[in-house]
């Protein structure tokens, strides 16, 4: 066998890159010059910068930067999650608070520097994936390269020579159609078998020196899905980011508290709080409505985890749009209901004591169930009543306790979240509620600047408190529950889910598919056919023994195992033309 000039094989090899490495001409490789100074000239600099950005090392550094940048958001309070805590934090740290605030540390995941990192990372991914996709598509259309000259150098190698009484000869009794054991028939069998098992196969004949029998070869490769999967994975991440961004721009969410017996219809004015992305349209909300018929709760009553919630259930009657038939649905904590892309989630619950207020003349000036907000796990709740129609105006601050208890240290508090023994501690105020100055007021806070406190009283259901000086009376007539709902529309979530699913599939392909090659060379000789079988793993951790055995079996190998070729244990030499193995270390820096 003559050794062909290196150039005869290298160009072919050069096009087939290792699945896991960038092509020699790809963007990653040249990053070896990372430490070098950028070349002069705008074009040169741009190219240099692009190569830096799309290098594997930059991707690595950006990944770490992203991990580090995400940390402060888990340590410092975040506006998006707890704005009140953020305000307190800043107030408590007058020096650092405002500085950190300016730098976006209370809104890390929306901060420009955080965005800069992930956007750079994604530009880097795109710059990395696009050229690799091109190379991969080309590789998919190129047949495997010709078999290297010296198969015996491969890690898995077998060779044997058929004696005249092996397969072909043995079947002399069989019909004449039985092929004789020639090199060509062996290669035919091997090729057919490999194709059937979905290997990509190339077949050829070596150039032979004068007087020698030419030997034929089959070269086959499998595992292209590894690179396909890897590209799919990275591309899916980009799609995921786009989907998340799309949802953020077009999505919206709002919160609303609904008392039992009351209704909600999906228009902006009905929300207690509503926020939408830049392009979300508050006018085009889906026109559904519902009424909270009943809210059911159960709490643990045994000593272990006493008070832990066991059941939350909101029964509603709903209409998808005005005039649509009314349906009864139950919303539970993990079971939202959906209307036309908007989902209604149950996120909280509480109490609404019924309060009646009469003025000095005994006229009923207030009669409503007042939403009070829970302050702890046992539903110790606070709320206010404002009675602008009384003269003078009246206001009440209320502490509502579903199961009242009093403690020397803590004062009144609730000892159990269910309404076993409800009580109200009310403090009454007289004066000007300040509702007329046009400044919007919270319904949960009494502005007492222009009011004076006239008394404090504890009330049980059914009890009435006659206010001092005959200015009126207040009665606690009963209570009901409320539920709070989050209503959200995120048009990006389905694409995001699909993208993450694809990313997972791609990831598994790229981690578990093994890319590998096998070769068979067969030459007719005077004493029989000499057959060589060899295999090469092109990715980490591929085990080729089984592949080589399978092929050897098809080629009619005698019992035995493949062993390493002569060159085992050392790296394949440059002259073998099999450079791919090295690309993995040499390719990207």
């Amino acid at each position: 066998m003559s050794t062909p000039p290196a150039s005869a094989e290298s160009p072919v090899e050069g096009r087939l890159i290792d699945p896991a490495s960038t092509p020699p001409s790809g963007p990653g490789q040249s990053a070896g010059s990372a430490g070098a100074l950028p070349p002069l000239g705008a074009g040169g600099f741009a190219r240099w910068a692009w190569r830096q950005l799309t290098s594997m090392r930059t991707a690595l550094i950006l990944l770490f930067a992203l991990a580090v940048a995400a940390i402060p958001g888990s340590v410092l309070p975040q506006r998006g999650i707890d704005p009140i805590l953020v305000r307190e934090w800043i107030e408590d740290a007058p020096t650092w608070g405002p500085i950190l605030d300016r730098l976006g540390f209370f809104d890390v995941y929306a901060a420009p520097w955080f965005a800069a990192i992930y956007l750079l990372l994604f530009i880097s991914v795109i710059g990395c994936v696009l050229p690799r996709t091109g190379v991969h598509i080309k590789a998919l259309r190129t047949p495997p390269p010709r078999a290297p000259r010296r198969l015996s150098r491969m890690a898995h190698f077998r060779t044997w020579t058929t004696s005249p009484d092996t397969p072909g000869a043995q079947t002399s009794a069989a019909p004449a159609s039985t092929a004789p054991a020639s090199a060509a028939s062996v290669l035919d069998d091997v090729e057919a078998d490999l194709r059937r098992r979905r290997w990509r196969v190339a077949r050829g004949v070596d150039d032979s020196a004068a007087g020698e029998q030419p030997s034929g070869w089959v070269s086959a490769e499998k595992g292209y899905a590894r690179e396909t999967g890897n590209l799919l994975f990275h591309a899916a991440l980009i799609v995921l980011l786009i989907a998340v961004g799309y949802g953020a721009v077009f999505g919206w969410r709002g919160n609303v508290i609904v008392r039992e017996g009351n209704g909600f219809s999906n228009t902006l004015t009905q929300y207690d709080a509503w926020g939408g992305g830049r392009l979300a349209s508050p006018d085009g909300l889906p026109p559904f409505s519902f009424t909270l018929e009943e809210f059911r709760v159960e709490f643990e009553r045994s000593d272990t985890e006493r008070g832990s919630p066991r059941l939350f259930e909101a029964e509603v009657t709903a209409r998808a749009e005005p005039g649509a038939p009314e349906v009864t649905e139950v919303i539970r904590v993990n079971e939202p209901i959906a209307f036309d892309g908007a989902k209604v989630f149950l996120v909280g619950h509480g109490y609404a004591p019924r309060i009646e207020v009469r003025d000095a003349d005994g006229r009923l000036v207030f009669d409503d169930a007042v939403v009070v907000l829970p302050q702890d796990g046992n539903q110790t709740s606070i709320g206010v009543v404002k009675v602008p129609d009384a003269l003078p105006q009246l206001g009440f601050q209320m502490l509502f306790l579903p199961t009242a208890a009093v403690d020397d240290v803590r004062g009144p508090f609730s000892s159990f979240p269910d309404a076993d023994d409800p009580a109200i501690f009310a403090s009454a105020w007289v004066g000007d509620l300040g509702l007329d100055d046009g400044v919007p007021q919270s319904v949960y806070r009494l502005v007492t600047d222009a009011m004076s406190q006239v008394g404090l009283e504890a009330l049980r259901p059914g009890q009435t408190w006659d206010l001092p000086d005959g200015i009126g009376s207040v009665s606690f007539t009963g209570w009901q529950r409320w539920a709070s709902f989050q209503i959200a529309h995120d048009p990006g979530k389905e694409p995001a889910l699909i993208a993450s699913g694809l990313a997972l599939i791609g990831l598994m392909m790229s981690l578990y598919v093994k890319r590998r090659r096998v070769w068979v060379r067969a030459a007719d000789g005077p004493s029989g056919v000499t057959i060589e079988v060899a295999g090469l793993a092109r990715t980490d951790e591929a085990d080729l023994a089984a592949d080589v055995e399978q092929v050897a079996g098809v080629a009619g190998a005698p019992e035995g195992k493949s062993g390493p070729g002569q060159a085992s244990g050392e790296r394949l030499g440059e002259d073998s033309g099999m450079m791919d193995g090295q690309n993995r270390t040499g390719g990207r820096r």
Binding site: L60, A70, P309, A537, L544
Partner: protein, 326 residues
């Protein structure tokens, strides 16, 4: 059997497992201290295939113990081997008891046994030991036994001492199939992360010894650094997609429970950080100059981040996820 009995049996099984695992760990430790300079069978010269050989860090191949060896196995220290066998058998027994403890706990509570930190830790211990034992079905991993049983014991110990909680029903937000899927995936990947971290630690130790050419004593009983590295990689190649899946399942659950699939809650944030670090590890392994030791440090960092997510966020940070009672 009454419910209270079940709880008692569960606790008894867990305590029995701790005793058994302590003996198992001692037996495993004995394999290291047994006299004789046994070279691990893995250190026998095996042909280095191109796929593996070409990537291994070039510097780590100086292994006097291995390179000069004939291909026949060196005489194996009998006592060490017997100790290893005892350790492995006891580890299986301990695993069975732990599993029993977790299952009984689940039966008692009438749900999956991961409603609070105690149960979660118990299940994690089962996962750590399970991953180790599953791997040891296919190869000789007695040298890893000390670490695997040690990590398991530490986890169970922490569970019964610090984190013990009476079983109770789940709060409504936790009763979801997605919880079962999400948490079981997270627990199993956590077990795998832990075993991989142990392997990586051993790799760093062995690699250092190989680099300095001083391979004696306990280090000599470890497989070659290249092998340790490959093993750690294989586990992480299994654990990383599973972790990815756990995060996705968590997002689906969050969307169902809270109306958003991602909200940068501390638990979510640290799951993300962990994910990103392990992605960095995989990239480092494919980047020249980062393979080997640097990649190993990254893998350890990933595990630390996993632990922060597990202990730090559950115990110290106010997170939506903190309601898994302590």
């Amino acid at each position: 059997m009454s419910a209270a009995d079940l709880a008692g049996w569960s606790n008894a099984a867990v305590y029995a497992a701790m005793v058994v695992l302590t003996f198992s760990m001692i037996a495993f430790a004995a394999t290291f201290s047994a006299r004789g300079n046994r070279v691990s069978p893995d250190a026998r010269k095996t042909p280095v295939t191109v796929g593996v050989g070409a990537d291994s860090a070039p510097s780590v191949r100086v292994d006097p113990a291995a390179s000069g060896q004939p291909t026949t196995a060196p005489p194996i220290d009998e006592r060490g081997r017997r100790a290893g066998n005892v350790g492995l058998s006891l580890a299986w027994l301990g695993f069975g008891l732990l599993l029993l403890g977790a299952v009984l706990r689940g039966v008692w509570a009438g749900r999956v046994p991961w409603g609070n930190m105690y149960e979660y830790s118990l299940s994690s211990a089962v996962a750590i030991l399970g991953v180790y034992l599953f791997m040891s079905l296919r190869r000789d991993l007695r040298w890893l036994g000390v670490f695997a049983t040690g990590a398991t014991l530490l986890t169970v110990g922490l569970a019964v001492t610090v984190l013990y909680t009476e079983a109770a029903q789940l709060v409504p937000a936790l009763t979801s199939w997605w919880l079962v899927i999400h948490v079981s995936a997270a627990i199993v990947s956590g077990g795998a992360f832990t075993i991989a971290a142990g392997l990586t630690g051993l790799y760093l130790w062995r690699e250092r010894a190989e680099r300095k050419g001083r391979i004696s004593g306990a280090v000599a009983r470890l497989p070659q650094a290249v092998k340790l590295d490959t093993m750690a990689y294989r586990i992480l190649a299994f654990a990383f997609p599973l972790w990815t899946f756990a995060v996705i399942a968590g997002a689906i659950w969050a969307e169902n429970a809270w109306g958003r699939y991602w909200g940068w809650d501390p638990k979510e944030t640290w799951a993300f950080i962990t994910w990103v670090i392990y992605a960095g590890y995989l990239h480092a392994r494919a980047t020249a100059g980062w393979r080997g030791r640097r990649a190993a440090y990254i893998a350890i960092l990933g595990w630390v981040s996993f632990l922060i997510n597990y202990f730090g966020v559950n115990l110290f940070v106010n997170s939506l996820h903190s309601y898994a009672g302590v």
